[in-house]
């Protein structure tokens, strides 16, 4: 009864207290474009231009969008090193993220299903969880034999705890009735696991993955800034160190784009796994 959302009209966040006119909306391509959204983006770019031109001392060093695009065209579009940074960063994200899911999902399931395991392991997880992944960098560098492994370890830590928590919550939320029903119909534990527990966990895994991929990018970039010599994060950092603002911005935009693409990939996978969600 409390806190349920039932929207009769799904296109509306809350029922308006103002009238709905009887006119039906036109659905030409003109109306499909999010004009207001585009306006605010244009406004942002305009603000950027204005600040750089007239903003005074503080903003002097910042290039305009035009300058950034030009620099990109000149220095980076055809630069193999630049595209290699993409690959390197994506590789790290790939290894770290996949490892975190492969280890984290079973751990979450064990934590949720086996009581004793939970009692022993969960307190340790709770203790380690609040430590920001980046705080692990020095230790990671000491511990792992290669720099690459240390960065991948950091990339792993971020999404690892997220997926463990999400899967653990997901297991706890499985309706006992489903389990009882299966048992009373004579299902064996292996079957229950494959056909009931795992499918029920797909939403939690999806949420964990989406949150995790965003965190992963944050982490990769910072890890690269601190401890590596290749990658998109490193590129951005080098721009800063060499006072080349265009490089910094190119780096930022590239990172944003890369993060966006990964999120798209994860969301796509999520939609495929859960076709029943509108």
């Amino acid at each position: 009864m409390i806190d349920r959302a039932r929207n009769n009209d799904p296109s509306e966040p809350v029922p308006r207290l103002a009238p709905r006119t009887g006119r039906s909306a036109s659905h030409t391509w003109v109306s499909r474009i999010n004009w207001r959204g585009a306006a605010s983006v244009a406004g942002f770019v305009l603000l950027w231009e204005l600040l750089v031109r007239f903003g005074g001392g503080r903003f002097e060093g910042i290039p305009t969008l035009a300058e950034v695009l030009r620099a990109f065209g000149d220095k980076y579009l055809t630069n193999a090193q630049y595209w290699r940074s993409w690959i390197v960063s994506f590789e790290r994200v790939g290894y770290g993220f996949v490892a975190s899911q492969l280890l984290g999902i079973p751990l979450g399931i064990l934590l949720g299903t086996r009581k004793i395991f939970h009692e022993v392991v969960y307190p340790v997880v709770e203790l380690l969880r609040p430590i920001p992944p980046l705080a692990w960098v020095p230790l990671s560098i000491l511990f792992w034999p290669t720099t690459e492994l240390s960065i991948i370890f950091i990339t792993f830590i971020g999404p690892f705890f997220i997926i463990v928590i999400n899967v653990h919550d997901g297991v706890r939320n499985i309706r006992k009735e489903h389990l009882w029903l299966a048992r009373s119909l004579g299902a064996r534990p292996g079957y229950i696991f494959r056909r009931i527990i795992l499918p029920s966990l797909i939403p939690s895994i999806a949420v964990g993955m989406t949150l995790g991929i965003a965190v992963t990018w944050n982490v990769v970039i910072a890890a690269e800034m601190i401890a590596s010599d290749v990658g998109l994060g490193r590129l951005t950092w080098e721009g800063y160190v060499s006072h080349t603002a265009t490089t910094v911005i190119v780096g930022m935009i590239s990172i944003g784009l890369a993060g966006y693409l990964s999120t798209l990939a994860v969301t796509y996978a999520e939609k495929k796994l859960m076709p029943w969600r509108k």
Partner: protein, 264 residues
Amino acid sequence: MRNRQFWMMWVGYLGAVGLWYASVKWLPIGSFRRLPDPFTVITEWLSPNPKYGISIFTHPYYLHILYSTYRATAAFLLATLLGVPLGICMGWSRHFHRYATSLLGLLRPVPPLAWVPLAILIFSGVESAVIFVTFLVAFFATTLNTVVGVKSIDPDYFRASACLGASRKDILFDVIIPGALPNIFTGLQIAMGAAWFSLAAGEMIAAQYGLGFLIMESYNLVQFPTIVIAMATLGMVGFLSSALIRMLGNRLMRWREQSLGFAG
């Protein structure tokens, strides 16, 4: 006679410590030896006269904690003061939502840490730059969760207050804020966690003082036990701040507590 849960917890802790110790002392891979072992760390931490100058008895330790806490709190408060009202506007008004979503969607995928160099250029001081980046992360988390909170309010509550004669201002305070409060607090907790996350990074990259800075410095000065001390402290402070927020939320939303106690 404590219950089993209590003992199992300690089995877990000891097991973890044991694993740590074992991997430092006994594993064949050379690099693992470089890690400080548990006993060194603990004795250093609790020693009145620590070898590397940081323990619970030294005052620089608390100085670093204070710096980090100040930055995190400042960023968090700013994010809340801006994010919650913005989230409410976005959740309530469809027009506003369309304006704001695209802008936010554009800025959000950029990892906050990528902002650090730019922020340092714009905000002439490193201090402000670090707080800005931390603020950004907390801001997104708060705003998004507030929007979800407002949108999740059952439309019937709006209708009920309308037919009972509420003005728009009344609806804001009677329906929207209390209705969104649970989600707002979830958002605040996430924001706090995210704030610590970026703060650590920001401090490690470019700051003086602070726990993140301490971690990097001890690494550079080859003071390895201190690294672990700083990490553990960071974890604890982060945990405490989230717990504080959760407790505040429980106090403000005592009506929820009631419903759990009487689970129907």
